[in-house]
């Protein structure tokens, strides 16, 4: 029988606290849901932050690569190999191998070093053409490594049609400056001398490490690196708002350039090396023979330097020097070439690609001579690697003179350019003398030359004098660059540096620094 008292209760006993239980259950479920949501959001926030850091760390790691390239460029001339780059190895207190750095104002750090091997264990000596730069970036504990495989200028090639990579970096000696005066230690000569008789127009960058003496006119696209000793003589430079600065660019001496060009050790005398017949190309000098009007291997005959034991290159005295004479003959050959009418005395001197050791050079206009820079290697079967014609000048005691029209054969072609490309001809001058590049006064119109002249010595003993005509119409126009202890101008002269149609840098140029060249690895 049911207890009647129970029927008065509005809820049975088992239902007591139901509301509380439901509320607690609701709270419990809500707590679980909230905890899950918070966990997910927290993770999502963390992942987002990781994404941000992962993006940022790549830029930081790349910054490390560029920072090291800059470091090498500033130290490549250091006589101590281990100071030319950052060697591998974990520094005290650091987590990773290399030098620690950062990008001021941005998050993260990088550790960077350069090695000679891919694995990053062998220090680079600053000479081996292949090097690796390793950089580890770190942002918020996230790390990323980037590695580049670079090559030094001189180790690469360009394609036959010149569409391939032509280095234009500063690391080659002629990639950036059209005119640079370096050292004024010799007497009181300034680094750059523009006398009142000179009118100089430069397409490209002009720079000096010391004084400019200017009373003539100097027009240039832009100027760089004018030192604190700069003296504003004249109006052109001051009108451009030039101000002095203490920064000095370091350049390799010609000695060191020669060592690097031929892969010689730091204690080797490069001129002794070049004096060995097998190490120079003096025997390749050819001259035109009248077997046809086109330049070919069969259309030329061998010429040779003087037999006096010195590597004298001159056309001023045929009885003394047989430079212009093919072997076994007594006189120069006659010929017609590129519109030049065959007249008695027209002589064509041809330099195939290679390195020529010259002690004294005197090529004057007195003998209707012309010089062909056979950049195309047409006389020796072509030059697919764009190897330039390089004059290495050392040892002679006389001043030198080049006062002849230059012509150039075009790689892959059959013709001759009267202007030529600056990348094909080099003069490395190491004498305590003056090299005179002058307009041929017997010709009319503009006298054009091409190529680059490099003349840097520890004691500032060299001078490059460039002389044009008395008017703009009779100017000397050099397509190329001049980097020398002292550079001096006379008359009307135009220097045309690197332009779209004037390649100045050649992949065979000597090593002056580094550049990013090939593989890029991020991991």
């Amino acid at each position: 029988m049911r207890d009647p008292r129970l029927s008065k209760c509005p809820r049975p006993a088992r239902e007591r606290g139901t509301a509380l239980i439901m509320a607690l259950s609701f709270a419990l479920v809500a707590a679980f849901i909230l905890a899950g949501a918070l966990l997910l959001v927290g993770q999502r926030m963390g992942y987002s932050r990781i994404d941000v850091s992962e993006n940022a760390v790549l830029f930081i790691a790349e910054a490390g690569i560029n920072d090291e390239l800059d470091f090498v460029n500033r130290n490549i001339t250091n006589p101590t190999p281990t100071l030319r780059s950052t060697p591998p190895g974990v520094r005290s207190g650091q987590r990773f191998s290399g030098r620690r750095g950062s990008v001021a104002g941005a998050e993260g750090d990088f550790w960077v070093f350069t090695s000679a091997d891919r694995e990053g264990t062998v220090a680079w000596d600053g000479r081996n053409p292949i090097y690796y730069v390793h950089s580890i970036g770190q942002v918020d504990g996230i790390t990323r490594q980037v590695r580049i495989n670079g090559t030094l200028p001189g180790a690469g090639t360009v394609s036959a049609d010149r569409s391939g990579p032509v280095p234009t970096s500063i690391q080659g000696p002629f990639g950036f400056f059209s005119v640079f005066g370096i050292n004024e230690k010799q007497g009181s000569n300034p680094c750059l001398n523009i006398p009142g008789s000179a009118v100089v127009n430069v397409t490209g960058v002009v720079g000096v490490n010391g004084r400019i003496s200017q009373s003539g006119t100097l027009n240039f696209t832009s100027g760089q690196n004018f030192g604190t000793a700069y003296q504003a003589i004249g109006t052109q430079l001051t009108g451009s708002g030039v101000s002095g600065r203490a920064h000095v660019l370091n350049w390799l001496s010609v000695d060191e350039v020669a060592r690097r060009a031929f892969g010689l050790g730091s204690t080797v005398n490069p001129w002794d090396h070049l004096a060995v017949a097998g190490n120079n190309d003096n025997g390749r000098v050819r001259m035109f023979a009248p077997t046809g009007s086109s330049l070919s291997t069969t259309g030329t005959v061998s010429a040779r330097f003087s037999s006096s034991g010195q590597t004298v290159l001159t056309n001023s005295n045929y009885s003394k020097n047989d430079l212009m004479l093919p072997s076994g003959t007594s006189r120069g050959r006659l010929g017609s070439f590129e519109g030049v009418t065959a007249v008695n005395g027209v002589r064509t001197l041809i330099f195939p690609p290679g390195d020529y050791l010259i002690s004294d050079l005197s090529l004057d206009n007195l003998a209707e001579t012309r010089v062909i820079i056979d950049f195309g290697g047409l006389t020796v079967g072509g030059n697919p690697t764009y190897r330039p014609i390089r004059f290495w000048m050392n040892g002679g005691s006389n001043n030198d003179l080049l006062r002849l029209p230059l012509s150039m054969t075009v790689p892959g072609g059959t013709g001759i350019s009267s202007t030529g490309s600056a990348m094909g001809f080099r003069i490395f001058y190491n004498k305590a003398s003056v090299f005179n590049l002058e307009r041929d006064t017997s010709s009319t119109g503009v006298h054009r030359a091409f190529g680059a002249i490099y003349s840097v010595t520890p004691d500032g003993r060299t001078s490059i004098d460039i002389k044009g005509g008395g008017s703009f119409g009779t100017r000397l126009e050099l397509r190329g660059a001049v980097v020398a202890d002292q550079v001096s101008f006379n008359g009307y002269t135009t220097i045309i540096g690197a332009t779209a149609d004037n390649f100045v840098t050649n992949p065979n140029d000597p090593i002056m620094g580094v550049q990013y060249a090939t593989a890029y690895t991020a991991r």
Partner: protein
């Protein structure tokens, strides 16, 4: 056996307390859910903004690299001496929540954050009040990202660009 039951008054009081506790608990739970939901939504929004902002900053620095060492703009001289410096401060760019750039005039209505690029040039050639690059000039490029309109700082991407580098 006789069942012992509390007085009717006691039974009613217990039910009321129970109900009140339940109501309070329910209210607290509901309020907490509402508050946390808002926080979750805000956090989710921040997370998304971080992602989109990161993409935009990444894009900005990549564009700077593509523009290249020689073509990035020049600013004003900051210091002279052995290693003179210059700085270029770029315009503020506004982006909506999807990472789409909006004009400055539309920014108050649509922008969710802003990106500004700075370029610090180290080792330049000074020409009076202006400067030019020299071969060894290092260009430090930063993209600073902030929320908009709060202007609260989010992060800065940065890298170095040198001539001939990557």
């Amino acid at each position: 056996m006789r069942l012992r039951t509390p007085p009717a008054r006691q039974r009613r009081a217990f039910g009321l307390v129970e109900l009140l506790v339940a109501l309070v608990l329910f209210a607290v739970t509901t309020g907490t859910v509402a508050l946390v939901s808002q926080a979750v939504m805000r956090a989710g929004d921040t997370s998304r903004v971080l992602e989109v902002a990161g993409i935009t900053a990444h894009r900005d620095l990549e564009m700077a690299k593509i523009t290249g060492w020689a073509n990035l703009p020049l600013g004003t001289v900051q210091s002279t001496g052995a290693r003179a410096t210059g700085r270029w401060t770029g315009p503020i760019r506004y982006y909506d929540g999807q990472g789409v750039e909006v004009s400055a005039s539309q920014a108050p209505q649509r922008a969710r954050y802003r990106v500004q690029r700075f370029i610090d040039d180290d080792d330049v050639s000074v020409w009076g009040t202006t400067y030019t690059l020299q071969p060894l000039t290092i260009r430090r490029v930063r993209a600073e990202v902030r929320r908009y309109p709060e202007n609260s700082y989010l992060f800065t991407y940065g890298t170095l660009i040198v001539r001939g580098g990557i």
